[in-house]
Amino acid sequence: MLTAEFWADWWRNFEALILPSIFSTIRMTLASVVFGIIFGSILAFFLVKHNPKGLKPRPTAYKIMSFCVNSIRSFPILILIVAISPLTRIVMGTTIGETAAIFPLTIAAIPFVGRVIENALIEVDPQLIEAARSFGVSDNRIIVQVMFREALPAIVNGCTLSAISFLVCTTIAGAVGAGGLGAIALTYGYQNFNNSILYTCVIIIFLLVLLVQTIGNIIYKKLK
């Protein structure tokens, strides 16, 4: 089975299909996670600030934000991509391909990362916050300079978790025209009965997950 012909065939597929899709997957993951972290941090900032037990309690605002977060998070990613495709078309101009997929993935990533960061921030020792308040530090500064700073290792852990989760999501998005490793594995591997492509993709996704986790662990250790 593992003849020279097999390997020649495998290499052709790898070069033409899999290799570009690896970069496509990485780009989609990076984009959704980076946007997720940026906007998720902002979301977490307000969630923590206006939490009923937070620095500036605004229960109604918190409930609305929390409701939105929960609603978006309750969509399975596949359904979300399809459901918001009209919006995707308006914003990105298309609903097919890598660029189009980044939009729904980011929409899904923001509340996910937001919650993850919020949870990390809540774990910060309330005495540290009280101490900062006792020096007359403003609420916004406390959140940024005390909470975010102290929770950074936990936030990094959460972001690693999110990155892996969204790496997996991009492959699911492949089923509805996003491209990337998921699309290759499904169309050229599964539907074409080409096991070599299917399992090559599986192994590469596995390696990517491993890579993200390792990088996350290294940063976590550095910060701790």
Partner: protein
Amino acid sequence: MIQVTNLYKSFGELKVLEDISLHIKKGEIYGLIGRSGVGKSTLLRCINGLESYDAGSMLVDGREVKAMNQKELLAFRKNIGFIFQQFSLLNRMDVYNNVAFPMRSWKYDKKTIDRKVKELLELVGLSDKIHARPSELSGGQKQRVAIARALSLDPAILLCDEATSSLDPKTAYSFTDLLDKINKEMGITIVVVTHQMAILRRICQNITILQEGKVAVTGSVEDIFLKQHPALVELIGQQNIDLSQDGITIKVVISKENSQTPVLTQMVRDLNIDFVISGGAMEKFRDHTMGSILINLREQDLVKATQYLDAKHIPWYRMSPQEPQTAEVSVC
């Protein structure tokens, strides 16, 4: 400096502070003592506005704390240092940055920050730990960093919330010595909340004992000790002394005025009586020693002896053997 009048505060149904009135003078070390959960920490947090109050007045430097808006409150808190039981240091910053943190928030310039941090660490004796992480420090050292941080904004008032409770007695004493030094050298008014009587006795001039959210007694440390106020007895408990069933045991208080005169031996000679010494304790105060001696007299000598003591203005108390001995003796 701090004038509290008829202050009330409750958390929902729970009344935490009821009708609290007290006055803390500028430049003194004031003690608030009571069992856990009597509201002393809450009262302390009302002083710098970390907690608000429901009714009454809290005047600090002539200003009503509750009436301040957010911005005024921040500037007001800048003037009040706060030290916590659990030190509350930022674990991901080194000692230098921890002390610099409040000054950075108030946008002090770099040179001032650098100078002040070094000065303060010198003061608290931690110059060699300037780049250590809090996790590398002992409890006593962490609390010293917390003091340096609390002093970084040149506060007029320093509030200490159970600052010695997680330190061992020896470290706690060196900490109180430091507070004493800060008080004397910088003239900072210090308010100490604690459940450790020994700490108060060492540094405070005036104290208030809180019981279930109310002021049980307020006055000078010596006075409260001298008169053996019931709230004090309730707080520190009776020491476990076997009171003899025969005769009568009285407690003679040795105060600042009479600690240098041989009162009891004179009394023995003058009255020609005998007694048994059944116990005693000497306590070190801020600048002097005070204590008490338990003597067991025959019943027929009691009147003679007490009249003698009264004539010499020596306080005494009759000990009743049936008194409950549920002593939760604090670190003395």
